[in-house]
Amino acid sequence: MDMLIGYSLYGISLLTVGGIYAILALGLNIQWGYAGLFNAGIAGFAAVGAYTFALLSTATNPYHFGGLGLPLPLAILAAMVLSGCIAFLIGLVCIRLRSDYLAIATIGIAEIIKLCLKNETDLTNGPRGINKIPRPWEHLGEERFYTSFPMSWIKDAAGWENFFGQLPNWWWQPFFCGSILLLVYTIYLLLEKAQLSPWGRMMTAIRENEGAAHAAGKHVTRRRIEAFVIGAMVMGLAGAMLSQHLKLIDPTNTFDPSKMTFLVWVMLIAGGSGNNKGAIFGAFLVWTIWSASEIFINSGLNVFGQLISDMDISLLKTRAGYLRMVVIGLLLQYILQKYPNGIIPESRPTSAGN
């Protein structure tokens, strides 16, 4: 029984993180798949969302700004808005750049965001990061939540303590996972709707032939900024969800600019850019490969370590982790060459609209 629970909890956490990456991939799909904007600074926008959420929702503490203890939905909304605002400012300046230049510029922006998070110690606690970020559902069991308004209305503190005491300590996991999957589904529905709308068709037109779209009287720059901002907002949302999942974030390891950005790109390209189903499928697929390969490599190395007892396995383990990255990178190269349109290629809406 314990084993069964363990396996299903692993499955749930796989779905949770896969779902968060799916949100990131959907955000990138708006920018790249719809509008053809090469954003290589995904980690930067996710970091903005994560830090905004963390600073607004954590309890007051002396290490960083605020800890305003705002309600979680409000903090999530703020994370999206701030991420969108930053994308808007960047868009005003950089959106006209050609693809490679935009990639360079967005990599730079991600670096600048990381620099700010690292150096503005008073605001963000610098490289030491922020911890005790509330996680939805689990946060209900925290004292500051069950003693405040909506919950204190139903039961008193002792009653809640009793209630949470009798639940198994993983009770929140399925709920958190469910919330994220629901979020993925909602974003998916909205994006599908957007793609079929006149706005979405205009986006495709701009992506496919900018000159023609411009000649047809479409405001190319403004539409591109819109796609960039909406994508960044979705990424900010994913960042907020990621910070909830991790509970502890720091600027260097959590938001390793190249690794995170790279994984999301692999997900979108593998799944099929321009196709929201593909983005979601790619995210879960790549995340499962990524996460399962870690377990296989580690257990393989453990067996290896038992055979050869005078060997330091921990060293091999860290190195094998990097080797995994090499394999994922080569996988991307393979997909790029063999399936340039991804596993589920983009299907263009017909004129009938279905």
């Binding site: 190195r319 080797l323 790029l336 340039p340």
Partner: protein, 316 residues
């Protein structure tokens, strides 16, 4: 005047800026050449720089362990350059060439992937931790110190800085000869101007592309080794940290202008170091933590105001 301002300014801000600028310049040459000849931003360039420095370290360590020889990094760089050029040509053949006629974005993405592959490969072979490249503290060159001191302008420069600056000047001269006097160099300039026209005039574009990787690889490894000499250690992230300033230098000088890239590199290097000089009051003008942001700011301003760069580079 010299005692109060000059000494500190020249020794602690200007010379380090010049040295960093030389390293950026060498890296930017490769970026600007590949950008103009193959028409894409090669994100893996910084990583080749880094792996070149690791090859050099390995050559030095091998020589020391098996023959008891301690060889100069610049000597050990010779096999490293050969390996790095081989790597560049291998990567081009199997990962970039399939996309020659595809939209640029695909090959940019492939190079973005190669960046991670090469870095992770280095991390798994040499380990993720820092390695000591040249042990010990670099002392200022005594001859220069006493010579300049007799004119009341004491200049403190460790030998490694001389190697870096002199090496850069020599590579620059060789490159200038290559590009203006040899057939292959003229071919490179022709392909950079117009690949179609070059092709119909009988230039083998694939040969030119291989030559470009060779020149780019040579400069990249030189830059990587110089950087490792300057820092005296190796890190797997050093290539990525260099990437943005190098792009900035290439864009500042104008894409396809190798000498523009050199000027761009020097400007970016100096701007980074001088941005932390206390120009007004006592504190540094910019908090040192933001030093790496300077290159980026210059790049954005250039892209918006004058995307062809200072020396009328190409625009894609």
């Amino acid at each position: 005047m010299w005692q109060t301002f000059g000494f500190e300014f020249v020794n602690f801000y200007f010379i380090p800026g010049l040295v960093v600028g030389c390293i950026y310049a060498l890296g930017a040459i490769g970026i600007t050449l590949t950008f103009s000849i193959l028409r894409f931003a090669n994100f893996a360039h910084g990583e080749v720089m880094m792996i070149g420095a690791y090859f050099t370290w390995t050559a030095m360590t091998l020589a020391k362990n098996s023959f008891g020889l301690s060889i100069h990094p610049l000597f050990a760089a010779i096999p490293a350059i050969a390996l790095a050029i081989g790597l560049f040509i291998f990567v081009d053949r199997y990962f970039y060439k399939p996309f020659r006629s595809a939209p640029t974005i695909r090959v940019v993405m492939a190079s973005f992937g190669m960046m991670l592959v090469i870095r992770s490969f280095v991390q798994s072979v040499w380990g993720p931790n820092q390695l000591t490249f040249v042990p010990g503290i670099a002392r200022p060159n005594e001859t220069v110190k006493s010579f300049t001191n007799s004119f009341d302008i004491m200049i403190l420069m460790p030998n490694k800085h001389f190697w870096i600056i002199a090496g850069t000047i020599m590579i620059m001269m060789a490159l200038s000869w290559l590009l203006t006097k040899t057939k292959i160099g003229k071919g490179m300039r022709a392909v950079s101007d117009s690949p179609e026209l070059a092709k119909v005039s009988g230039i083998d574009v694939e040969v030119i592309i291989q030559a470009t990787w060779m020149v780019g690889g040579f400069c990249a490894v030189a830059a990587g080794v110089f950087l490792a000499m300057d820092l005296q250690m190796l890190e797997t992230t050093m290539g990525f940290r260099m990437l943005l300033p190098m792009f900035a230098a290439a864009i500042l000088g104008g894409i396809g202008r190798p000498f523009g890239a050199v000027i761009g590199g020097l400007v970016i290097g100096l701007a980074e170091e001088l941005s932390v000089y206390p120009w007004f009051g006592n504190g540094p003008l910019l908090s040192p933590g933001y030093k790496t942001g300077v290159a980026f700011a210059i790049m954005i301003v250039m892209l918006v105001l004058r995307p062809s760069g200072l020396f009328k580079g190409r625009l894609f």
